[in-house]
């Protein structure tokens, strides 16, 4: 029996249940988090080659779900991250200054919608199905962003909608050109013609917007910085990753023969620019959440910097693993950081970094979580971020790509600069916040710090599980012989 569909169906079921239970729907996360974590773990341990033709309708008509390495890692990390964010939202409910009640209730169905959409997107190989999942995730993401700043969310919405249509236009050209939108089939029939190049260009541009790669990142910092902490965590950890995974499917699986090295270096160059630009912007922020948001811009850069490294490697497995592990480590660390930052800002006198003084004494666990997440984002050993960057760096040096290697090193240093700035502010003496903060902090900080601490801890522990994760990431890599599902096309 094949249960891949459950990874999508179960969150959808929880969404329905949350809508029916209304105000008390929040307690569902107590069931959803362990159930989904169990399902994701089961997925990660499946034998290689597990696929599901939904409804048993053959390709090219039907839709194929497949548990490859990327899907396994992303679904598992997603289950841990979303589950932890959900549990955290029980003790630190989202509900801004405006619209508290509606926000507190609608947060839950939107969380489950994003969960289902992300899982569906990671598992499917069908490009149109990916369009629907992209819309599920974008819709939930915009609504979550709107809980913070409506203006930033509207801007995000417009750009995301235009991006979706550009993606759909690419899908339309591919359907017409190949009579299929399945990645595994496209890989066999792909040819270099105008329609394919145009489709690939449009879809790539659209997905770069969704993944917020520099210079298409403009919508991200205001939207991510303004949202309530659990919403920001979901946006940074989940929403930007789906665009990246679809790009992997397109560039490495469907059209590896068409994406020339020049195009790969354009992506890699943009990624490198994003690392530098995002880091410098993060250094220039004087408020905490924009700093964390710009750090996302920088960290997304690494994902694309890895594109030419994967394509150029003699043995691409290690660069590939570095890229996917970086995605996973960033999911864990950034979610932890946003949750911790949300708690810190609630206890601090203001939202500026200078206002964080005294927090290290007031809420040591939360600040520890922030620090551990920072260790992984900087790429210091023994964290998951370190493993990922080490793999990428060795691939870059092996290929003689010293520019990329340099950016990897400099990016880590810059991350250290801006993250230590925030951390050291926490250790500064109390900046006139009053005794109230100091006395209240540790009491509530205890339970509330569990989720960010657990996520940050996972980001660190990932470093110890390095080889196991590298093995998982190599399941059904695109350059190995693909498991071909022969379509039964009627004559």
């Amino acid at each position: 029996m094949n249960l891949l569909g459950l990874l999508v169906a179960v969150p959808l079921g929880f969404m329905v249940a949350a809508l029916l239970l209304r105000g008390s729907g929040r307690w569902l996360i107590l069931a959803a988090a362990p159930v989904m974590a169990g399902l994701a773990l089961w997925l990660a341990l499946l034998p290689p080659g597990t696929t599901l033709l939904v409804g048993n309708w053959d390709l090219p008509l039907g839709i194929l779900l497949r548990a490859d390495g990327v899907a396994r890692l992303m679904v598992l990390a997603g289950a841990l991250v979303i589950g932890a964010i959900g549990l955290h939202a029980l003790v630190d409910p989202p509900g801004g200054k405006d619209g508290g009640a509606a926000t507190a209730e609608t947060f839950w169905p939107l969380l489950y919608l994003m969960w289902a959409g992300a899982n569906a997107g990671f598992l499917t190989t069908d490009l149109f199905n990916l369009y629907v999942t992209l819309e599920m995730v974008s819709l939930a993401a915009v609504a979550l962003a709107a809980m913070g700043s409506l203006a930033a969310a509207l801007r995000y919405f417009m750009i995301a909608m235009l991006g979706s249509l550009a993606y759909l236009l690419g899908v339309a050209l591919l359907v017409a050109n190949y009579n299929t939108v399945d990645v595994t089939l496209l890989a066999q029939v792909a040819r270099l013609d105008l329609a394919t190049v145009m489709a690939l260009g449009l879809m790539t541009a659209a997905l770069l917007i969704k993944a917020a790669l520099f210079p298409m990142h403009g919508w991200l910092p205001p939207a991510h910085a303004a949202a309530p902490a659990p919403a920001s965590a979901l946006l940074s950890a989940i929403a930007v990753k789906l665009g990246f995974v679809i790009l992997l499917r397109l560039w490495f699986e469907a059209f590896p023969a068409i994406t020339g090295s020049a195009a790969l270096h354009v992506l890699g160059g943009l990624g490198a620019a994003a690392v530098i630009y995002g880091s410098i912007q993060a250094m220039r922020q004087d408020r905490l959440k924009p700093l964390v948001a710009y750090s996302t811009v920088a960290q997304v850069g690494y994902l694309f910097l890895a594109f030419p490294l994967v394509a150029g490697a003699v043995e691409p497995s290690s660069a590939w693993a570095g890229m996917t592990l970086h995605g996973v480590a960033h999911m864990l660390a950034k979610a932890a950081m946003f949750l911790a930052a949300g708690l810190m800002l609630k206890a601090a006198a203001g939202d500026r970094i200078a206002d964080l003084g005294g927090l290290a004494q007031a809420m040591p666990l939360t600040v520890t979580a922030f620090g551990l997440a920072a260790v992984s984002l900087m790429g210091l050993p023994p964290s998951g971020g370190f493993t990922a960057k080490f793999l990428l760096l060795s691939a870059a040096i092996e290929q003689g790509a010293f520019l990329y290697a340099g950016v990897l090193v400099v990016g880590g240093l810059l991350a250290a600069v801006y993250l230590f700035r925030a951390l050291s502010a926490c250790f500064a003496p109390l900046a006139g916040a009053g005794p109230d903060t100091a006395s209240r902090g540790p009491v509530t900080g205890g339970v509330k710090a569990v989720a960010p601490l657990a996520l940050a801890g996972l980001a660190i522990v990932m470093g110890f599980a390095g080889t196991a994760l590298v093995d998982v990431s190599a399941i059904e890599v695109p350059w190995a012989t693909p498991t071909v599902i022969q379509p039964e096309v009627a004559p």
Partner: protein, 110 residues
């Protein structure tokens, strides 16, 4: 190809090219029209153009492919769902500066 098809441009191509022009027209309007509601309208025109490309290129000599039709219907429904959300955001943003905490009833015939 030219030998098989006596007409240089088939009906499918006429609509597909119309769709292509609509798409570009919508993109252009999206850039130069600065009001969010007009941008929302422009996005819907872009969507219509994309759908028309799908339909036009799925139109064979004797039948139209059911698969693109189904994709277009899915696309239309997704588009209207997002448009509704976008319109609600635009209205809420307009009323936010006046009273951040109090919904103001809209009057459709005002």
């Amino acid at each position: 190809m030219e030998l098989l098809a006596p007409e240089p441009v088939s009906a499918g191509h006429i609509y597909a090219v119309t769709g292509a022009i609509l798409t570009a027209l919508g993109f252009y309007a999206f850039i130069v029209r600065r009001h969010a509601l007009r941008q929302l309208l422009a996005v819907n025109v872009v969507g219509a153009g994309v759908f028309l490309i799908l339909g036009g290129l799925g139109r064979g000599p004797d039948a139209i492919d059911p698969m693109p039709q189904a994709l277009v219907i899915t696309g239309i429904v997704v588009a209207v769902a997002l448009t509704a959300f976008g319109a609600a955001m635009i209205v809420r943003l307009a009323e936010a500066p006046r009273s951040p905490d109090q919904g103001k009833a809209g009057k459709p015939d005002a």
